[in-house]
Amino acid sequence: MTEAAPRLEIRNLSVAVGTDEGEARILDRVSLKLMSGSIHGVVGESGCGKSTLMRAILGILPKRGRATEGNVLLDGRDLLTLPPSVFRTKIRGGQIGFIPQDPYQAFNPVFRVGTQLLETTRPKASGNAFDAKADIIALLKAVQLPDPEHALDRYPHQFSGGQRQRLLIAAALASSPAVVLADEPTTALDVTTQAQILKLLRGLAEARGLSMLFVTHDFGVVAQLCDTVTVMYAGQTVESGPVARVLAAPLHPYTKMLLACHPDRSAALSGIPGAVSSPLRPPSGCRFHPRCPSARAECREAIPRTSVHAGQQKVCCLLYEEEERI
């Protein structure tokens, strides 16, 4: 199988954060690939490490957090080895654009929108403020914000939630980034607004050939927006592949159970028994084994390897390792 080089690749990334009660191993050998010009979804429930993954890619891990192993490769270059100053000037707001979760909280309420949107272009702009402003206004038109010419002089509270999210999308695109990271950008919005934003993102991605990593907890959103998907559980990647395949034929027991909880699928209201384990004392072996109905004795000890199915769908589970061997 010859593959094109991915735009962004996470390879075996582990992140630990020091807390008062000891070291929390938030991410454990996470791997995923974002191909150029595609949208890759990262799905998981709270506590699965989605936001830590985002912060690791952006180089803004919390003070006592560090990547213990692995790489974050952007166009083949390992971001983790970059000095912080390069990270700030070249990567964040440069090669990586970021769309935050809550448009209501992401703006500083006492500054005009224009000041904040133009802030990212500050360090790079070669002195031509007029150009930067014209560029942003063009982007505001692209994100279909009403009255884009005067938007920059207004304050955040004068915009609705959907409009603010459009502003933030424009901000993320301002530096023509190689990769856009989106952190649950529609969770805080109403369902009709969410539909607008999802359509807008899909349209922008197609028109501009964006490569986007889209984090969410909602399989429905993934189905509507993404080309490929990675499912995470308790800091580990459990399954990945093309969206249509994963949704139609999930392999990992966790993916199966999570999909079964979706209102479109479930007949009985069962849920997944138990709770996500604490990253302070993660279970040995496969982190899902305490809640897994198909768990066996080996699952406690053995760390599952990744096996590939039908050429595209990857799964981390002992059940399939054996299958492959046979």
């Binding site: 985002m54 912060r55 952006l58 803004i60 700030r88 000037t89 990567i91 964040r92 707001g93 440069g94 654009g97 970021f98 935050p100 809550d102 909280q105 992401a106 703006f107 500083n108 309420p109 006492v110 500054f111 904040q116 802030e119 990212t120 500050r122 360090p123 304050y155 509270h157 933030l168 901000a171 993320a172 530096s175 990271l181």
Partner: protein
């Protein structure tokens, strides 16, 4: 914005009127015999009776109140027993000195306190933060009158680096009266020698006065910055690639200062209170030392006039603070 200022002004009126009534009550009700109090300590019964007649104290209380209102409406707060001049005139002569002193102290406290507080928050729980915490708590625990005397003892009496008291060298003519503020007037008339003289005189009182303000500005700046740094928009700014220095010194600091502006009013109250003792220690010819003299000489009219005037100034400062707050945070004025 005009609506906001107007609204704020009108809100102050009931409080000031209340204060006005309160001073009247204090004047007529609290002393056992206001006539005796007004006539002075060694007055004969005949003199007291004369005073009672002259001031209308034999009239019913409500009538006295109307007379009082009329007097004040004409800008007449009575004459000082000591100087025998209208107290309002005395106070207005001394007001510039107090304004100069409190303004310099407040400016110094803000210029030093805000950066220190911000740094303490940025270096949260570092050695700097801990030392700052101890120093600021200590700064708030020092009695300003005592600190003033200790500074006088060290820098004026022992070391003789700075003048012991006063606002200007004795015997020299003060700067030409333009604003009444020596530092400003001397600069306006380009008399830099006078500016130097005024400056060395203001150092000790202004530093004493600013100590508590500096400590509390540093403390609430630190608290404000810490709170703001938890906000989602700071995380977003980081992720979106704003410069860290700009995040802290522009975005976070402005929000923290906006949150803290309402504290400045209280701070100013503390400043005026301390100014009473500090002015009298340094013989600073301001309203504070005037108030102390009035109290020590039982000059009732003067004491009450000072109370009223300080109330009006304090209200003005608080309105100003609110207007600045509304200007810094566009959401405030829009709620009205």
């Amino acid at each position: 914005m005009t609506r906001f200022v107007l609204h704020r002004l009108l809100l102050t009126i009931p409080a000031l009127f209340g204060l006005f009534v309160l001073t009247f009550i204090m004047m007529r009700v609290l002393p056992n015999d206001p006539s005796a109090a007004l006539a002075g300590e060694n007055a004969t019964p005949a003199q007291i009776a004369a005073v009672r007649k002259a001031y209308g104290f034999d009239e019913p209380l409500w009538k006295q109140f109307i007379i009082y209102v009329e007097q004040v409406a004409h800008g007449d707060l009575g004459n000082s027993i000591i100087s025998n001049r209208p107290v309002l005139r005395d106070i207005s002569d001394r007001l510039p000195a107090t304004i100069e002193l409190t303004f310099v102290s407040l400016a110094f406290a803000a210029c030093v306190g805000i950066p220190l507080g911000t740094l303490a928050a940025v270096w949260y729980q570092s050695l700097f933060d801990h030392v700052m915490r101890i120093l600021t708590v200590a700064g708030l625990a020092i009695a300003s009158f005592w600190f003033a005397i200790i500074l006088q003892m060290i820098f004026a009496m022992e070391l003789d680096w700075l003048p012991l008291r006063g606002r200007f060298p004795e015997g020299l003519a003060p700067p030409l009266h333009i604003t009444g503020l020596y530092l400003v007037d001397s600069l306006l008339t380009l008399r830099f020698d006078q500016f130097g003289d005024a400056f060395v005189h203001i150092i000790l009182p202004a530093f004493t006065l600013s100590l508590a303000g500096l400590a509390s500005i540093a403390r609430f700046t630190r608290a404000g910055v810490l709170e703001t740094m938890q906000k989602e928009f700071v995380h977003y700014a980081e992720a979106a690639g704003y410069q860290r220095r700009r995040i802290i010194w522009v975005y976070v600091l402005r929000n923290s200062v906006v949150g803290a502006t309402t504290q400045i009013g209280l701070l100013f109250g503390g400043l005026i209170s301390s100014a009473v003792a500090v002015e009298s220690i340094f013989d600073w010819p301001g309203v504070g030392s005037y108030a102390v003299n009035a109290i020590l000489t039982s000059d009732y009219k003067a004491v009450l006039a000072v109370t009223l005037v300080v109330g009006v100034i304090y209200a003005a400062v608080n309105i100003l603070v609110d207007v600045v707050h509304a200007w810094l945070d566009p959401r405030v004025a829009e709620t009205l």
